[in-house]
């Protein structure tokens, strides 16, 4: 393993999300995006933002 191909940090991967939403609203709250989509925003433990998009029909299930 050399410095160039040592991806041990990447293999371990980042820590999981907290599930805490960004801004006001409850965890898992959906934000409507147009007529067809919803967006759910999370904050990763390191403070980075993650947004999950899915079709509105799928969110009802």
């Amino acid at each position: 393993v050399t410095a160039d191909n040592d991806h041990s940090e990447e293999r371990q991967g980042p820590p999981p999300l907290t599930g805490a939403p960004v801004g006001a609203g409850v965890a898992g709250a959906e934000v409507a995006v147009g007529e067809a989509l919803v967006r759910v925003e999370y904050t990763k433990p390191d403070g980075r933002r993650l947004s999950v998009y899915r079709r509105r029909e799928a969110s009802r299930g």
Partner: protein, 326 residues
């Protein structure tokens, strides 16, 4: 070193982000953009399946809370923190898919996501320009093969869009019209360089194409930015992008690398509506199946592109390729 330094000899900013030297580079046995599966290492996306996900780049060039610059600027060469946002857009949980492989409804969803991210990022105080783009293929610098693009939210209008907007403003002053509206009309009237034309969008090889198989995609009617597209316009854009991506792959029978970027209205509150005409630029680096168009002396040092393929021939080839996969 994470900062922006100004070049007074060109009038352009250069961003330094030396931490990116350590970013994930072609990992052999782990993909950080795949879903996190039970019993497997966590990836960037902690769900077992997903449709489209965006997240802040782990190795950003621009960030909302940038560190203080390492060097002190001067009146001649100002230095500013590298403020902005760099996001990753993951198109699918299928590691081996490409934009060309995605079903139409997923590409349509991506159009909505690009528009939504534009609106979200535009609300941030430091952001003046939002540019969704995709680097596809190792030859254009892709370090992860999972289908994804990026969005850079810049603290100023980057050089190339700024140059285009300047030309558009001069054309507007001289003619009273939008230059892209005029170009789209001219290309439709001529037809020789058109690759695909719908009711609302046109894809063509530019008369002045810098790259041999460059394609520009733009709406027929004047729309300044992604959020300004209506549902029908978004539907057709999705189909147009799929069609061009599939034509590229059919051109020589392999998955063609490209850089794809959206140019749209700056988000600095300026008066851009009449001069910004939303468009997509697709720039494949290949000039033949086994040869690349390199940016060498004239292009890199002179900024003067020299192309090896006539745009009219390239458009004819892409139309034939498109018919094969239609």
């Amino acid at each position: 070193v994470t900062e922006r330094r100004y070049d007074p000899t060109s009038g352009e900013w250069v961003t330094f982000a030396t931490d990116r030297q350590h970013r994930t580079y072609k990992p052999a046995d782990f993909c950080p953009l795949c879903p996190t599966l039970p019993g497997r290492p966590a990836t960037e996306i902690p769900f077992p399946s997903f449709e489209v996900v965006t997240f802040d780049n782990r190795f950003p060039s621009l960030s909302p809370d940038p560190p203080t610059p390492d060097v002190t600027g001067s009146e001649l060469c100002p230095v500013t923190p590298a403020a902005g946002r760099c996001e990753v857009v993951v198109y699918s949980d299928d590691h081996d898919a490409t934009l060309a492989d995605l079903p139409g409804e997923r590409v349509r969803m991506l159009v909505d996501v690009w528009a939504d991210r534009t609106e979200v990022l535009a609300t941030e105080a430091e952001v003046r320009y939002v540019m969704p783009f995709e680097n596809k293929g190792e030859v254009v610098g892709t370090t992860l093969s999972h289908p994804h693009g990026q969005i850079y939210a810049y603290p100023e209008v980057p050089a190339r869009p700024a140059k285009e907007l300047g030309a558009a403003r001069r054309h507007l002053a001289a003619t009273g019209r939008c230059v892209h509206c005029d170009v789209v009309s001219a290309e439709l009237a001529d037809g020789e360089r058109v690759v695909a034309a719908g009711d609302r969008w046109v894809a063509w090889v530019p008369f002045w194409a810098r790259f041999p198989y460059e394609v520009r995609v733009a709406p027929r009617r004047h729309v300044p930015d992604l959020p300004g597209l209506d549902g029908a316009g978004r539907d057709e854009l999705a189909g147009m992008l799929s069609g061009v991506a599939r034509a590229y792959d059919a051109l020589w029978g392999f998955s063609l690398p490209y850089v794809m970027a959206f140019h749209q209205r700056p988000t600095d509150g300026g008066d851009w509506d009449d001069v910004s005409h939303l468009h997509v630029e697709l720039s494949p680096p290949h000039r033949s199946p086994d040869k690349l168009k390199h940016l060498a002396g004239s292009e890199l040092a002179g900024g003067a592109f020299i192309s090896d393929v006539a745009p009219e021939e390239a458009a004819a080839s892409l139309r034939r390729a498109r018919r094969k996969v239609a």
